[in-house]
Amino acid sequence: MSFTLTIDGRPVQATEGESLLQVARRLGLDIPTLCYLEKCGPLNTCLVCLVKTDGRMVPSCGTPARPGMIVESETEEVHAARRTALELLFSDHVGDCLSPCHRLCPLGLNIPVMLRQIEAQQTQAAILTVRQALPLAGVLGRLCHHPCEQGCRRGNWDGPAAIRDLERFVTDRDREQPQPSLPPQQPPSGRSLVIVGAGPTGLAAAHALARAGHAVTLLDRHAQLGGTLRGVPESDLPAVVLEAELALLPRLGIALQPGVELGRHVTLPELAERFDAVLLTVGEVAPADAPTLGVPLAGANLKTDPNTCQTPVPKTFAAGAAVKPVKQLVRAMSEGRAAAECVDRSLRGQPVCRPEKPFSSVMGRLDPAELRQFLLATSSASRVSPCDRCAGFSPPEATCEAARCLHCDCRSSGNCVLQHYAQVYGADANRFRADRRPFEQHLQPGGVIFEPGKCIRCGICVKLTELAAEPLGLTFVGRGFDVQLAAPMNRAIAEGLQKVAEECVQQCPTGALAFADPSASRA
């Protein structure tokens, strides 16, 4: 028996017994759900799938569609309610989606993954991880001021992991190959742009835009590319390393034009005529040079909109020291990358804005007892120093040092429904900040790791064990805010998951249940 109802003003057919969620999904609406699994039926616990009907908010997964219903789904009011549900869940979510080192890296290198790949001696995979995030990775592996290491949780125990040295180790291995690796590239977009100034900012932008599939031309008034990098002493940055990194640029399809100066050999209007976009990364602007650039100034710098990197001149963007003094190399590069993102969006006709920081739940400081939970599953060796400082880590030293990583990033990051919808809904993980529960991590026999603080009490695993008639199974213990997931009779979680461990890990909407095996290849 089929009937019609209305969702967000669109009429839609439904049959008896269908839920609002099922009907809405058929319309192509992405209503978020955390606790819904067709096999389990509606559990009605997460309440993130709210829709409004008849003046009331109802969970769409458990509300049957009825003829003539008028349902609101994608409205600001409904979204606000869904966002609040997500934010409430985060207020009681003990865990970091991204590790502190990852969050602190201005270029967003997924450091824990790199470390696990090094530990597993998957050097090629580690190279790709590094190359995906870092332009001129070999240079950063030597010069970066490594803010990541300041955030390393192990720093409060026996010293942070030697992240920068390990980065250097990876890129050194890459350079030893006959053909160093390139990060993956998007198919050609058919759009072209020119970048003026091949210092760290310009190089990073060129790198990012070339990878995004655009035709990039890179100008520099000097005969040699690299800008301020050329002034670094050989002992800190051997020329051979810089050259090797620069040699990757033509391979990414970037047209290099050294010795071309804006205002002298070419004018801004000419560039704007020839290219779809212009990005000025000329470094600090000398007062004398300013008029020749063709862009109005704000104080001593080029005038730009800080949110879009756009100058008042059409199609023209600017970034780096030309806009705002930048001290650190890695920050200069991240500025280049942010500008690249703006240019990319503009070339694709999307609204222009700087990239947002990736969403992450943040646990904050851990006390030593909590830290110990991480240490249980990790190498207890203290920080390794390379035997030969000039040569950097040897492979065994690198493996040993990488094994010190605490794996404090979430095993489900990127695969977590809660994290996904938090991003989609712009949830603020700190809106209801409160005293958090202690961090706990229970390594189960059989390789399942249970982190109670990440459990959102959705009930999927409880239901799955019930459906599979697990001899012991799982249950909720306690009531209200203190409800916990546990195996009955004070037994271990693993004992309750004899048949459906794999399925429960797979269906867990967060990282509460995961396999402990870091499995670097999977990442």
């Binding site: 616990t45 993130v48 709210l50 969970p59 012991l472 009531r479």
Partner: protein, 805 residues
């Protein structure tokens, strides 16, 4: 036996069997399983039996249940950790239950609890003292609100406690235990009354009993026996005037009744002698003899004391208390022996049911209830007749009717009183409902905190079965009806109908999403009618007097009467039944006699944790469903707690939110975490650590919790916060600035001794934490770092020299 200690009446019963030692008696578990069955839905009764036997749930016993029944380990762990009554650790020898009900809260229960823990040396974070003598257990509400604050040690109830009285209470309790106090005869095994012309009625509801009425009852019986007078001492249900308990009525046919309030067993014989002539010559001699003895052993004072207890019913206070009431659910209050079927029959009992059984079409009963305008008295006020009609229309062969007696609101005890006092009436209402909708099975779901109610309903059912009026037949009709009693296990949320059903099916009491409503798919997925105790208690009257008569009472949309538990900071607390539409002012000022001397009436909290505060300036609001909703409160189940100007409204909001947050089942995000985050904000405010944006954040979150929660508990939990924010925002703002205008929030107040101090040292002697150095004849001073704000010094100071700022 009864004694007054520090003005506190004591009632002592035998302690339960001490917790078993290391050996767990598995044979008991086997017997229990044999008795209750092996099906998964027996899990709660089985656990209750084990808990009652061992005092806790020994792990071995639970494992044995898993092995020998179809109950899964997940069910045992899940269920036993969900309900409050279950404990997994052995308890102390004695259990001290501290009531945290609303009335107790506003009269200082927190200080009493602190004092108890200090006196019993219970370490922070624990509930039992190191010697495992006493376990202190807070309970949501003992339902003796007029005696607040209430503490119950094992079966002994102490009313009107204070932190000051705590040492005396413990000492006395232990002395009694050491003396091996004999258990008083149960009031449930009662002698059949003889046909006396005169009767002495003793109220034997739980409140009255907590004030010693059962011992008074036995003393009066004994007195009557000794003096040989022709008098019947009779147990009756709640009289309603809880502020005057124990209340005794001497009723003689054709004469005006004499009332006595506050009698003790010591007065019993004097009372009997005042009123009755002994039978025959020997009785007369015996009377003279005992009188002579009395004059030797006691003094004339006893008789004077009895005279002092006499209550003039024409006294304006009594008239005002009773005058505005109309008794429908509590018909014949204070007259009926709760367990006498004959008396119930003599007062039109079961005529309504007989009428319904004789009706050609049960549809007519539904019609009558619809016509009467009766709405659910459990809180939401859904039209009862409409609910009945929906269940009646279902075509399933099996249908259930459930009486919801899981009255859990702190501050409410109407349902307990009705079940205790009028069990036959509720059974009759239930039977009428069953006939009307075509159900042949019914369940009373009564919370286990109401043991007397459970016992009386069970006894009443047994009496009916004995007469063959229940079971295969209903009265004389060939209508099979089976009624049983199931006890709750301590979870407020089980008052929500879908959670109640989950609980009956042997699961954690977590509400289901409605629709489907229980009327379509309820217990075991069958159509189920769930009505509140009071609703069912109204039904026989409506049938007997006709729906029109019921509908003449009350307002346009709220018909009939409503029973309220009137308690808090008020002079005449008790149980009242008034027509809908009576104003808050009439209830508080006329019936309740207003607040205590020197205090100002501030607000009334109506509807408990789901309701709100009606401020004094809106006291002319009529009590009906719509008007209350308009001002932000709800009718709720009928708890009515009066607050005077010593109440802090932020604290009240926090109190209720703490309750709902604690009682949240934890299923849905908004209620589980949302109420906790709201409470975080209120805790901050009461601790003086509020932040500027807190009020806006609280308001916003309250609205979203109310909108997004799955069931009624979560949807209404923000109400106490929203109404206090609406009417008392200035108090919230004061807390933001670090002030508690009512001087209640202990983090925001300081005690100070003024120049009026004479150096009597009383405060120093009573300070439980030695924060006041003893300096005779000098002005004392309080060390604020040590002071716990227990208020003891202020209470004992004879010169009012202790001030709170």
């Amino acid at each position: 036996m009864i004694t007054e200690v520090n003005g506190v009446s004591l009632e002592v019963k035998a302690a339960p069997a001490p917790a078993a030692g290391t050996e767990v008696d598995l044979a008991f578990v086997d017997r229990t399983i044999a008795r209750l069955g092996r099906a998964p839905d027996t899990v709660i009764p089985v656990l209750q039996a084990i808990q009652e036997h061992f005092g806790y749930l020994p792990q071995e016993a639970l494992q044995h249940v898993c092995r020998s029944t179809d109950i899964t380990p997940a069910a045992i762990t899940g269920v036993s950790s969900f309900y409050d009554m279950f404990r997994h650790q052995p308890v102390g020898k004695y259990i001290v239950r501290v009531c945290r009900g609303t009335a107790c809260h506003v009269t200082g229960a927190e200080r009493v609890e602190d004092a108890l823990r200090r006196r019993l040396r219970i370490p922070a974070g624990d509930d039992t003292d190191p010697d495992r003598e006493f376990t202190v257990e807070p309970v949501a509400c003992l339902g003796c609100c007029t005696l607040a604050p209430v503490v119950k040690i094992d079966e002994t109830t102490f009313g009107h406690t204070t932190a000051e009285k705590v040492p005396g209470i413990i000492q006395d309790f232990l002395a009694r235990m050491a003396a091996g106090d004999e258990a008083p005869t149960s009031t449930e095994t009662i002698h059949r009354p003889r046909n006396g012309r005169t009767e002495i009625h003793v109220g034997l509801g739980s409140c009255c009993m907590a004030k010693g009425s059962d011992r008074l009852f036995h003393a009066l019986q004994e007195g009557a026996r000794q003096t040989g007078t022709d008098v019947v001492v009779k147990r009756v249900g709640c009289v309603g005037m809880c502020h005057r308990t124990p209340l005794v009525e001497v009723a003689t046919a054709g004469k005006r009744s004499a009332f006595y309030a506050g009698l003790t067993p010591a007065h019993a014989r004097a009372l009997v002698q005042r009123h009755f002539r002994p039978r025959g010559f020997f009785g007369h001699v015996s009377r003279l003899w005992t009188r002579a003895l009395d004059s030797v052993l006691t003094d004339q004072q006893v008789d004077d004391q009895v005279q002092d207890c006499a209550l003039d019913v024409r006294e304006p206070g009594v008239l005002a208390f009773l005058g505005k009431q109309i008794h429908i659910a509590t018909e014949h209050f204070g007259r009926l022996d709760p367990l006498s079927l004959d008396e119930y029959l003599a007062h039109d009992g079961f005529t309504a049911l007989r009428q319904c059984l004789g009706a050609p079409d049960p549809q007519a009963i539904v019609g009558a209830i619809e016509q009467s305008g009766l709405r659910g008295r459990g809180g939401a006020g859904f039209p009862t007749g409409r609910k009945w009609r929906v269940v009646r229309q279902q075509t399933d062969d099996t249908k259930y009717v459930i009486c919801n007696g899981d009255e859990g609101d702190p501050g409410a005890f109407m349902d307990r009183m009705i079940l205790e006092s009028f069990p036959f009436r509720v059974i009759e209402g239930m039977a009428i409902a069953a006939v009307a909708i075509g159900a042949h099975e019914g369940i009373f779901y009564i919370r286990h905190e109401y043991p007397l109610a459970v016992r009386r309903v069970r006894a009443a059912l047994a009496e009916l079965e004995k007469r063959g009026w229940l079971g295969e037949r209903l009265l004389e009709a060939a209508y099979p009806l089976r009624l049983t009693v199931k006890e709750g296990a301590g979870a407020f949320v089980c008052g929500e109908e879908t959670a109640l059903i989950e609980s009956l099916e042997g699961r954690r009491g977590m509400p289901r999403l409605r629709p489907p409503f229980p009327a379509e798919s309820g217990l075991w997925a069958k159509p189920t009618l769930i009505n509140n105790v009071e609703t069912l208690a109204m039904v026989p009257w409506i049938v007997r007097h006709g729906p029109e008569r019921f509908a003449t009472l009350g307002t346009a949309t709220s018909k009939g009467t409503k029973v309220f538990a009137l308690a808090g900071q008020i002079r005449r607390g008790g149980l009242i039944e008034i027509p809908m539409g009576t104003t808050v002012r009439e209830i508080v000022e006329d019936i309740g006699g207003g607040v205590k001397e020197g205090r100002r009436f501030k607000a009334v909290q109506i509807g408990g944790p789901s309701g709100g505060c009606v401020p004094a300036r809106l006291a002319d609001t009529p009590v009906d469903y719509e008007s209350l909703r308009e001002v932000g409160a709800i009718m709720g189940s009928g708890g009515l707690v009066v607050l005077d100007d010593s109440a802090c409204m932020v604290d009240i909001a926090r109190y209720f939110l703490q309750f709902t947050q604690d009682q949240s089942c934890g299923k849905c995000t908004f209620c589980r975490i949302g109420t906790k985050r709201m409470l975080d904000i209120l805790d901050r405010l009461c601790a003086g650590k509020g932040q500027k944006q807190d009020l806006a954040a609280l308001e916003q979150l309250a609205a979203q919790v109310s909108q997004g929660s799955l069931c009624g508990l979560g949807k209404t939990a923000p109400n106490p916060v929203l109404t206090t924010l609406r009417y008392y925002r200035h108090e919230y703002e004061a807390h933001l600035q670090g002030r508690c205008p009512a001087g209640k929030c202990s983090a925001l107040i300081q005690y100070r001794i003024t120049a009026d101090c004479t150096g009597c040292t009383l405060c120093a002697q009573h300070c439980p934490v030695d924060a006041i150095p003893m300096v005779p004849y000098q002005r004392h001073a309080i060390n604020l770092d040590l002071c716990t704000r227990c208020d003891s010094c202020r209470q004992v100071c004879p010169h009012h020299a202790v001030q709170v700022s």
